[in-house]
Point group: C2
Chain length 564, copies 2
């Protein structure tokens, strides 16, 4: 069962795939070490999560350029989920991280089998943006201890900030200088270096790619400086230390029931966030080359990647934004680029982990801080707020809850706000009383236009699907009309914008019809759409309708005008 | 601040109000005792909840005929909420019941202040119906112990049934005979008696009203029989015993924080269920007389009634269906009828509670069973299932969860199912590719009609509001079209059924517009409604639209036909 892309592989693809594979690997080495640190795991776990998952996705995924592996947000979520369950860095913690990847993978696969990809649509952009901003700030704050060279326990953002404040006397200044220098260089690389290289004659694309190598440059320079001067021993700079060489053992043992229960919810949230990030990146890259990804198949590709991560001792993986874009820009034509990356990471793991012995933690912390702050875009907040207060609130609510309460409550609050605000909107439908534009077949709002009306009939147009949440509003409007205009004999509901009627709405309409009949008046329908009428046929509303079911509003208008 | 109805009171109203007040009181006496029993409270609490609340609602409510007081479902919910917190019948339990009424009242009042009445719309009819059926079955099962004359602890339905089975050897047969005879008579009164009385010369309405007095008849006969023959002493028939005479003391003391926490959720659910029942009854009765109730003011009326119940030692009250209908049919013209009822109940409480000493519990249990089984209507289940499988599922899911798990989880499950199924529907919008009906300005689905299309343009009509839940489906459709028909240069989105676009949908449309532009193709809009366009103006979608923003589909068709 060779993947599609392999069957139609062309020799001309090879160069692009190879160079993309190399460039992504150079990005991936510091990131995988840093994100493992962020997740509270030993550094080699980041390397493990960067080998088999890439191959699994290459075989089962549908995107040509998505780069799967450890990412910042999923690492933070892993740390949040596991810190209450075990001591970070312990073997139990590592075991649970591996289980979390397996749970995430199984959820992906189950959603793939039951075609539940639509669940991920429950997260609106404001929630996702709010979540990313909140997580980025949370991650940046959590890495300050690495820059300052102090040890503080994991905890809430308030605890972390107060512990940092209390530790200000214990700052390791050499570490701080390394951290600040790294941050400064990485920010410069992100913002100024590209235009400098551009001026020096490199193409814009080449310059952009080169700047992505900056973290690796910082890693090499800092490791050399710390190693040759023994800053770890002399100045107390905290370093990565020995990373076990060699392959992870491929194995899996079942978690306990209690562990499973505590891992289920975090795995579900990592799945939702990871799936949305992966699919949206994959989709936007595919479209630029007129390719297509299949979201339901992506569930299998990403599920296989997470299961592979679990089997090889890793932790949850995601198709990340930054590396995927680099992979694309560096010329990746097929997932062979990721397979090259995996092979290169394997080589690093087999023989080169010793080279990272003197790598300072502060550099990894700096890499994380610069990466996550790059994800924060405050103009989005402004735009969202301007377009819709409800969406702005769900963004800010999510951000604040993520920062002050936690990652998981943040998502839940955001989802609740966005669902409630959607329901609120749908529960307050636009209902217009309309009249006929003289001499035409068009009907317009009587409050906005000068239109013809009939003394014995009111035409009500409802611009929303009728469901349990808004049918009361419709009922109240009709009651008001009947109460205020006792002379009205006919109520006409116009339904050109009604796409569905649920059984609650149907029952209320039936009751209204009966009530209107008891008053010796009539309820009419007009312009009900085909699919809606298909379902209404056979219901009491149609069989006992006191008035008529008109195809067009003007038909109703003319018929009722004759009766006036 | 005299209520509206009192200012315009006419002398001719008096007779109707008095006779309605008397008939409702005769119904209310056995019901208030029985429902207090169901709620796990001493019988006098039911009487307390039938005096001040009626007066409070008469002053602050807006319905002319709603009869407020203890009802079956709220009594069950009270028992469910309080049983884990205190021993039924104890003074702590009674104290908590009073607090529950206060919490419920405060929630009503807060929702009134913040105009949150719309929250009650989150319960769809299938959920309400499923809830009523489940509660009725649960209540009926809980009363079997009263009919059998055995004592078993409160518990889940499975526990209750197995305890009943284990107690079959302990049945008190005289109690069982009284219970069965009462049930039989009450069922006959409900179904056969009215037509008999009708044949005997009474009008249909008079006959209907007379049958409502059946519970009082059973109460009187059974009390006389048990009292004169001392069946309680001789045969062990369980009786109500002494009910303290005299007024409840008007007082209120605050609950502890722990008590408040456990009462909040039950009070919220009692509020939601009670508000929906009260408003729907009030509304349907008001409409029959061309009157109008104001749902937001009802929040104050019902809130005042519950607070009054709490202050006078009662428990949560609701505007009940059965008594309100009787009140209406017996000729109540204004809330003065309820004030008469309250005064009569007060007289009973002051001097006549001794008359209920020999009233057997089995009769109260029979009253409850017949009343609640009258609320079960299986034809609703059939209708709902036939009209919509999703609505049918939320009905059955609610019923089963209520019976097997409990009242509160049942409501939560029902609400979740109905919201999810609404979101599922909205997430799977009807999207049609349309063409022009030759020679007209109408556009129809190309799969259903033979229509004109253009080689260089595709017209896509989306029959749903665009929001975070369904914009992906729109995106995927457009991606598919672009992928399958590379010759297409123009995508036209038709929006006659789009009533709103949230910021997620807007961002996706902007991204699509950019992607389509990058392919040297164009995205056009047509027939976007006024209010939607008002909000879109100023967004990137409009300012950077690659194509045109047409008023009508046929304009777009003609313009693009010229470019083809």
């Amino acid at each position: 069962m060779a993947p599609e892309w392999l069957k139609s592989y062309k020799r001309s693809y090879l160069q692009g795939d190879m160079s993309a594979g190399i460039i992504v690997t150079i990005m991936l080495i510091p990131q995988s070490l840093a994100y493992a640190l962020l997740a509270g795991l030993p550094p080699q776990i980041g390397l493990y999560a960067s080998i088999l998952p890439l191959i699994a996705y290459a075989v089962f995924g549908t995107s040509m350029t998505l780069a799967v592996g450890p990412v910042a947000v999923a690492s933070l979520m892993t740390a949040t989920a596991l810190t209450p369950l075990a001591t970070p860095g312990s073997s139990e913690y590592t075991f649970l991280a591996m289980q979390l990847a397996m749970f995430t993978g199984v959820i992906y696969l189950l959603c793939g089998v039951f075609r539940l990809g639509f669940l991920s649509h429950l997260l609106s952009h404001p929630v996702i943006n709010g979540f990313i901003i909140g997580s980025a700030i949370l991650i940046a704050i959590s890495q300050l201890k690495g820059i300052l060279g102090v040890s503080i326990p994991n905890g809430s953002v308030v605890d972390t900030l107060s512990s940092l404040y209390a530790s200000l006397g214990l700052i390791n200044y050499p570490t701080l200088y390394i951290g600040i220098a790294s941050i400064a260089f990485l920010f410069y690389a992100r913002n100024g270096l590209a235009s400098l290289l551009n001026k020096l004659g490199l193409s814009k694309e080449q310059a952009g790619l080169l700047t992505k190598l900056a973290p690796m440059v910082v890693v090499i320079i800092s490791t050399l400086l710390v190693g040759t001067n023994d800053w770890a021993g002399v100045l107390g700079v905290k370093i990565v230390g020995s990373i076990p060489e060699g392959l992870p053992s491929l194995s899996y043992s079942l978690p306990t029931v209690a562990q499973s229960k505590s891992l289920l919810m975090p795995a579900l949230l990592i799945f939702i966030v990871g799936f949305i990030e992966s699919v949206s990146v994959a989709q936007s890259l595919a479209l630029r080359r007129q390719q297509k990804i299949k979201p339901n198949k992506e569930l299998f590709g990403l599920g296989a990647a997470n299961a592979a991560s679990a089997l090889s001792g890793g932790y949850p993986v995601v198709g990340g934004f930054a590396r995927s874009v680099v992979n694309y820009a560096a010329g990746a034509n097929t997932p062979l680029a990721s397979i090259f990356s995996a092979v290169l990471m394997l080589i690093v793991l087999l023989g080169f982990t010793g080279y990272f012995f003197y790598l300072p933690h502060a550099v990894l912390a700096a890499t994380i801080i610069v990466a996550v702050l790059g994800m924060v875009d405050f103009s989005t907040v402004k735009h969202t707020w301007k377009y819709s207060k409800a969406d702005g609130l769900s963004l800010l609510g999510t951000t604040l809850t993520v920062i002050l309460v936690g990652v998981e409550p943040g998502i839940l609050v955001g989802v609740s706000i966005s669902i409630l605000s959607y329901l609120w909107n749908a529960s307050h439908p636009h209902i217009a009383i309309v009249g006929r534009v003289e001499g035409t077949e068009h009907f317009r709002n009587i409050e906005r236009y000068s239109v013809q009306t009939l003394p014995n009939a009111v035409f009500i147009r409802i611009d929303e699907n009728l469901f349990f949440g808004n049918i009361q509003a419709v009922e109240e409007t009709i009651h008001s009309v009947l109460h205020q205009h006792p002379e009205v004999q006919n109520i006409v509901i116009l339904g050109p914008a009604i796409n569905s009627i649920d059984s609650t709405a149907l029952e209320v309409l039936c009751a209204l019809n009966t009530q209107i009949g008891a008053m010796k008046k009539k309820l009419h329908l007009a312009e009900i759409k085909g699919p809606v009428m298909d379902r209404l046929r056979g219901s009491d509303l149609i069989s006992e309708l006191t008035g008529n079911n008109f195809l067009h509003a003007y038909e109703a208008f003319e018929a009722l005008a004759r009766r006036a």
